[in-house]
Amino acid sequence: MINKQVASVAEALADVRDGATIMIGGFGEAGSPIELIHALIDQGARDLVVVSNNAGSGEVGLAALIKTGRVAKVVCSYPRTANSTVFPELYHAGKLELELVPQGTLAERIRAGGAGIPAFYTPSAVGTPLAEGKETRTFDGREYLMELGLKADFALIKGRAADTHGNVLYNKTARNFGPIMAMAAKTAVVQVEKVVAAGELDPETIVTPGVFVQRVVEVAHPAHESELVAQGAVYP
């Protein structure tokens, strides 16, 4: 029978391998799956490629993961955040590769990866430094860039509730990259405050259908990054 719930965040990420590409949901702290990120730090995989909109703040969550030195490359639209010191240090020291992608192109590349679309054309970034080296093409008299779909080995996502089939609901603007990262990852892991039995969620309101989710794990009281940073928390 289908039951995608796993007992702990550690179990959810036990098989992450060195060199894996990891998509991490969240826009700033909203939707940042802190407990899963901390479990990934504990797990110890190295040479990771992280795909995420931001690069974390303080020394918890994504920033703490980067600080371990186990992230080789970040694919991201906005690595500069208030209270962000970890990323700049490693970046300036040449210890971290950055692929800067416009936010909408990042979102569309992730969706494309999940939807079996290897490449698409977009008007975003045409004529800018971020178009350098990219193929361009004109449709109906306007110039577009070709961009490639993005896939990942794992996605770490924060939802509000899920059922045992992996159907997921989100909370307000914490939804952001969750649904598309679940599509693009071989193994999508979603932490939620509550896992319920299949049938308890209204099929009309499910945001991420279970087919896109491989593991769900209950984190009843997730931490908020801004609170941890305000407390001066450091992980681990």
């Binding site: 029978m1 289908i2 969706r111 990866g113 999940g114 939807a115 079996g116 679309i117 059922d163 045992t164 089939h165 159907n167 599509m183 039995a197 299949a198 049938g199 099929p203 009309e204 499910i206 259908p209 279970g210 087919v211 896109f212």
Partner: protein
């Protein structure tokens, strides 16, 4: 071809035989016709999630006569139900599931299957037919495994398993396994290979009715 055509499996037996091969927890899309029968035969203790490309995961059985909802239908436009754990979604999301490799198995009917896995199942190519393709080309391009369930030959006795398809193709090299009333046959790099014979059917019975060489069971 022999006049003593062996009977082999009934349609329901074919569907039941195929259902044995679907692992627990699979996401499965069933085509229209014989494929729909597969849903009746999920082995005890397994749970499958049926995807119907018009926008439902967790498709359940047909409702009781007269209780159908015209807005709860499957890809064959028949009334269905929604199981616990079901979800509704729009067409672009539904085909993202298909094209993106998220559906484990699709079971389809066939007009012809070639020994290299090419499938023809949408058109006989006759000039007066109205061309209509639906989601077949997306399914064969995107779903991880494609099983064909079909009568071994056409009504006029022509083999459906052939060296090379003569009808317009649905996809190239996509079929992995075939279930007919006579046998279960894998499509391998070497061509058709017997997996299992139906009761009372011999290897020669199958080879005689197959338009390409059949390799023996391994």
């Amino acid at each position: 071809m022999s006049a003593d055509t062996p009977t082999g499996w009934s349609r329901d037996e074919m569907a039941k035989r195929l259902a044995q091969d679907i692992p627990d927890g699979s996401y499965v899309n069933l085509g229209i016709g014989i494929p729909e029968l597969v849903a009746k035969y999920v082995p005890e203790g397994r749970e499958l999630v049926y995807h119907t490309e018009n926008g439902l995961l967790g498709m359940g059985p047909s409702p009781a006569e007269g209780e159908g909802d015209p807005e709860l239908i499957n890809a064959g436009k028949r009334h269905v139900t929604a199981n616990p754990g079901a979800s509704f979604f729009h067409h672009a999301d539904s085909f993202a599931m298909i094209r993106g490799g998220h559906i484990d198995l699709c079971v389809l009917g066939a007009l012809q299957v070639a020994c290299n896995g090419d499938l023809a199942n949408w058109s006989t190519g006759t000039a007066d037919a109205i061309p209509a393709v639906g989601g077949a080309m997306d399914l064969v391009a995107g779903v991880r495994s494609i099983y064909v369930i079909t009568q071994h030959c056409t009504k006029t006795g022509e083999p459906k398993l052939v060296e090379k398809c003569t009808y317009p193709l649905t996809g190239l090299g996509v079929v992995t396994r075939i279930y007919s009333e006579l046998a279960v046959i894998d499509v391998t790099a070497q061509g058709f290979r017997l997996v299992e014979l139906a009761p009372g059917v011999s290897f020669d019975d199958v080879q005689q009715r197959t338009g390409a060489p059949l390799l023996p069971k391994q």
